[in-house]
């Protein structure tokens, strides 16, 4: 299975790991880490938006957060997905 990562576990950053999913499996998002307790909804929304804007339909995303703001989270998700699908587009 292909996976790719972006980000770090530094304060106010996050580590995003994305893996290929079978066609029709949809977008699965897992969130853990320091802001998860109070910002899970906002983080899920942001990650889903980025995925949708990139036209990806089936993917597993795991976010290990250490206090990233949305703007950072979005950039890390985008970078991880680009690394995963890299050569194809």
């Amino acid at each position: 299975m292909n996976t790719a990562q972006a980000g770090t576990l530094e304060s106010m950053d996050c580590l995003v790991t994305v893996s290929e999913a079978a066609q029709g499996a949809g977008v699965k998002i897992q969130i853990a880490g320091s802001s998860a307790a109070r910002f899970k909804s906002a983080m899920e929304k942001k990650a889903a938006e980025v995925i949708a804007s990139m036209g990806v339909k089936d993917i597993d995303i795991s976010i290990q957060d250490n206090g990233a703001l949305d703007i950072v989270l979005g950039a890390r998700v985008e970078a991880a997905v680009k690394r995963l699908i890299g050569g194809e587009r």
């Binding site: 304060s11 106010m12 320091s34 802001s35 307790a37 109070r38 910002f39 899970k40 909804s41 906002a42 942001k46 957060d65 250490n66 206090g67 990233a68 703001l69 949305d70």
Partner: protein
């Protein structure tokens, strides 16, 4: 269910706490009646040596039984051996159902969890940190924890809200007749400030020492008048955990900027004049404020009267250089402070009662001009929370937050706007520790936010060119914009923590966290 003066819902009766008194305002409640007293003792010349052999013999001699209240002080901080030693021994002796009444607990006390689970300790009145806080927050104790400030605790004891059966005092030096001091010995911790009230009011006082000196030991902090039993043990603590090395000023540019703004506010205030008194604690930002203030004091040629509270090497330096006349020390944080309080008569040991009790003939906080505090969050009404973290867990004690805020003429909370993604300025704090009526200004990296009720301060700051003033509305909307919307904390109905205001009224309650 009734609402207190801050609109917080407080039940009239809380299981395991009792009938509640509603918070009515910072200075609203006026006490009546007389102080409580401890047991009368009589020791004739048949007793000239109070020593017993071993901690279990001391516990037995103290008359400690199941269901009683035991107290401890926290000057040995994360190096403390005494709390664990005593409770372990109680467990082995089959003593159960104890109320633990510490002035604070530290990480080293996580060992108490096994004694909470086995029923040796069934109630805690005092701060719960780290793993014990997490356990309590998840419903690990049947009785709610009661949180009191450093001044609220001696008030509760002296007014009879809490009766101490046995006080165990970690004594870096003691003699066989119970004269104690904290400045000498291999486990020296400096001030024994928090232990004084316990020594005065407990039915029985046990001194636990690892440095027994010939009678009479001197200097004396707590004297033979109040000490019933002396027990010698190999070690009362680990020096590495008792005192830190030299506390350092932050080097983080963001925090330095916040400290600089705080110092500019102080300089602009009417309190920055000859004889200024202040408390800054040991945190990174407050220490940096002290450093900036020192520069300003030298530049403007003014000298301070005293520094108060937990004392660091930084304050000792101010004393040595004559920039403050006295230090009033309830807790000596580092080696320099421990050394200084032992040598310098201008560095005074004060009790928690003297420091902060609202119900005596005048606590030191009343004489305070400026205090710099932190908080986990502050809301639009300037209410501050220091007890719970973003996830809703009870993780910090109140310390002197309430007392200094109520006493000082200028109370400043200095904090970055965000910690990680979590905003420190919100619409409504999760739980209140200190009411906004006694908080005068919030300092963040975006500038100085002054409580609108302090129009005098606003005017003083507006008169100074270039001071970055930010309104509370602007600050909170900035925090919202950066952090995004928060999910609510999922809680049960059950109350696991009662936060008392320093006068014993309930300012807020903390609910059990829902299982994830």
């Amino acid at each position: 269910m009734a609402k207190n003066a801050l609109g917080r819902e407080i039940p009239e009766f809380i299981e395991g706490y009792g009938k509640t008194k509603l918070f009515q305002g910072a200075f609203a409640l006026k006490p009546e009646g007389y102080r409580a007293g401890g047991k009368i003792r009589c020791v004739n010349n048949t007793c000239t040596d109070k020593r017993v052999s071993g901690i279990k013999a001391a516990i037995a001699a103290s008359g400690l039984k199941s269901g009683m209240t035991v107290s401890f002080h926290h000057h040995l901080r994360n190096g403390d051996f005494v709390v664990n030693m005593v409770i372990d021994a109680c467990a082995e002796m089959g003593i159960k159902n104890l109320t633990l009444f510490p002035t604070a607990l530290f990480g080293v006390h996580k060992k108490l969890i096994e004694h909470i689970k086995s029923g040796v300790i069934t109630r805690i009145m005092g701060s719960v940190n780290g793993p014990i806080g997490q356990l309590v927050s998840e419903g690990g104790m049947d009785v709610p924890v009661v949180l009191r400030s450093h001044g609220g605790r001696p008030r509760a004891v002296a007014s009879g809200d809490v009766h101490i059966d046995v006080a165990f005092i970690a004594a870096p030096t003691a003699d066989k007749y119970g004269n104690i001091c904290g400045t000498q010995g291999k486990s020296a911790c400096g001030s024994l400030g928090y232990a004084f009230t316990d020594a005065q009011f407990a039915d029985c006082v046990v001194a636990v020492t690892d440095n027994l000196q010939p009678y009479p030991a001197a200097p004396v902090s707590i004297s033979q008048l109040n000490v019933d039993i002396v027990v010698e043990v190999p070690s009362i603590g680990d020096p590495a955990g008792i005192v830190s090395g030299t506390t350092k000023v932050t080097r983080d540019p963001l925090r330095l900027l916040i400290a600089k703004y705080a110092s500019e506010l102080i300089e602009a205030s009417p309190y920055f004049k000859e004889g200024i008194s202040f408390q800054t604690g040991a945190g990174g930002i407050p220490l940096a404020v002290t450093a900036f203030m020192k520069e300003a004091m030298i530049k403007r040629g003014i000298k301070g009267s005293f520094g108060l509270g937990g004392i660091t090497g930084y304050f000792v330096e101010l004393l040595k250089e004559g920039l403050v006349e006295r230090l009033m020390d309830v807790q000596s944080f580092d080696l320099e402070a421990v050394r200084s309080i032992g040598e310098n008569p201008k560095h005074i040991e004060i009790s928690a009662d003297w420091y902060a009790n609202p119900w005596n003939s005048g606590a030191a906080v009343n004489m305070l001009d400026v205090v710099i505090l932190g908080a986990t969050e502050v809301d639009v009404n300037f209410n501050a929370n220091v007890n719970t973290e973003a996830e809703g867990a009870l993780l910090h004690g109140t310390g002197g937050h309430q007392d200094t805020a109520a006493g000082a003429k200028l109370t400043i909370i200095a904090q970055p706007l965000l910690r990680g993604r979590i905003p420190c300025v919100t619409d409504n704090v999760y739980s209140v520790t200190t009411p906004g009526e006694v908080v005068d200004a919030i300092i963040t990296e975006y500038g100085i936010t002054i409580n609108p009720k302090r129009k005098d301060l606003l005017d003083a700051c507006s008169a100074v060119k270039g001071l970055p003033l930010v309104s509370m509305d602007e600050l909170v909307s900035r925090a919202h914009k950066m952090s995004g919307p928060t999910d609510p904390v999922a809680t049960e109905d059950r109350i696991i923590g009662v936060v008392e205001w320093r006068d014993g009224t309930v300012i807020d309650v903390v609910h059990q966290l829902k299982k994830k």
